[in-house]
């Protein structure tokens, strides 16, 4: 080819070189400044950007693995790390009862949260009704699969007991047992219910001493509440 002594050089080529990533450091800095201040130059850059990007037209799309999206979303939207104690505190605005409750749940539940990485899902329910003073807080302890219960107000009727039931959508209530007189207690979640714990509604019924004789609630439902994520 014939060698021409002078190198063609104009603004349009500076813009194209910038888009290609061929500018020297000094030229790049100057070009950035000109983009911000000179309309014509910025237009030249847009001109080349639009046209040179057409080189990617022939590049076939490739589906990225699902984990990339997961990592990206975790990076862009970091899960707020709020301690379980704080979550209990905020939950239903039941600060005092919740705080006592956290004390009852003990260190172990709070410790789960001190580990970096996965934040456990903590399920909780507030069992209440319009017709009875009975009010019970329930928190599912995620590692031991225990439901920790604290009776905040109300109690069993004279000569009767309180029985706890787990109800899954469209299914018959499953008895979780008669509650003791104490304010707090722990009840193991039956293995067959664990995977669906988030769908459980807890209910407490009024039953004769010894619990329901039929395997289904026989007395009034004194309090009930659905599980929600803390």
């Amino acid at each position: 080819m014939t060698q021409t002594p002078e190198t063609p050089h104009d603004d349009d080529l500076l813009a194209a070189e910038m888009v290609l990533g061929l500018s020297s450091d000094d030229d790049m800095i100057a070009a950035r400044h000109r983009i911000a201040t000179e309309r014509d130059f910025a237009d030249r850059v847009v001109f080349w950007q639009e046209r040179l990007t057409a080189m990617t037209d022939r590049i076939d799309p490739v589906s990225p693995p699902a984990r990339v999206k997961k990592k990206l979303m975790a990076q862009v939207f970091p899960k707020q790390r709020v301690s379980i104690l704080q979550r209990l505190w905020l939950w239903q605005g039941m600060a005092m009862a919740s705080l006592l409750f956290a004390g009852y749940l003990g260190v172990q539940l709070l410790e789960i949260n001190t580990r970096p990485g996965d934040q456990p899902t903590v399920l909780a329910a507030q069992l209440v009704s319009d017709t009875s003073p009975l009010q019970v807080l329930a928190v599912v302890e995620p590692i031991k699969h225990e439901i920790a219960l604290r009776r905040v107000s109300g109690s069993a009727n004279e000569g009767r007991v309180l029985e706890l039931w787990a109800i899954l959508p469209d299914q018959a209530p499953v008895s979780l047992g008669v509650l003791p007189d104490s304010e707090t207690t722990r009840i193991l979640v039956p293995a067959e219910l664990r995977s669906q714990a988030a769908q459980i509604t807890l209910a407490i019924s009024d039953e004769p001493v010894g619990g329901s004789p039929t395997g289904a609630p026989t007395g009034d439902v004194l309090a009930a509440g659905a599980m929600s994520e803390l």
Binding site: E17, G21, M28, E50, M55, P64, V68, K71
Partner: protein, 180 residues
Amino acid sequence: MDRQEIENLIARVALKDRAAFDQLYDRVSAKLFGVCLRVLNKRAAAEDAMQDSFVKIWNNADKYNANGLSPMTWLITIARNTSIDRLRARKKGHQDVNTPGFELVSPGPTPEQYAVASSEASRLSGCLDTLEEDRGKAIRGAYLDGETYSDLAERFGVPLNTMRTWLRRGLIALRECMSQ
């Protein structure tokens, strides 16, 4: 790709709409991943570059409206520049390309201008093919492989100044071909 749809999604992402970001990812990630993979040639590196690109998209979507680029050009430019920055970071004399799209401030073309521009853009490949073979290869090498003038001079075995002259002549020919 539907320009209006992508533009709407970017506008919503600019307002920090998480659902829109999710949809935008589903809509364009395969194309951007293809671009990252083409530049970096390694899956792990391409995955990282694409993730970085989307973080930049999330953080800079509010600057899109003013930059005058079509939405796919803007998105692809971010993915391409992020990939090339990573490619060059391994080499000596590293220099950021750093997504020029972010800095553009000129008002965008009108829809008519845009239609003309996009039909011209699609002519690029044909025009690249009409260039002298080495010039076309050099321009592709710079854009798709992040090659610098010194990389190109070495590859073609010519002095740096000659390389620069070749490439600029190639760009002039390309411009003439595209505006015919």
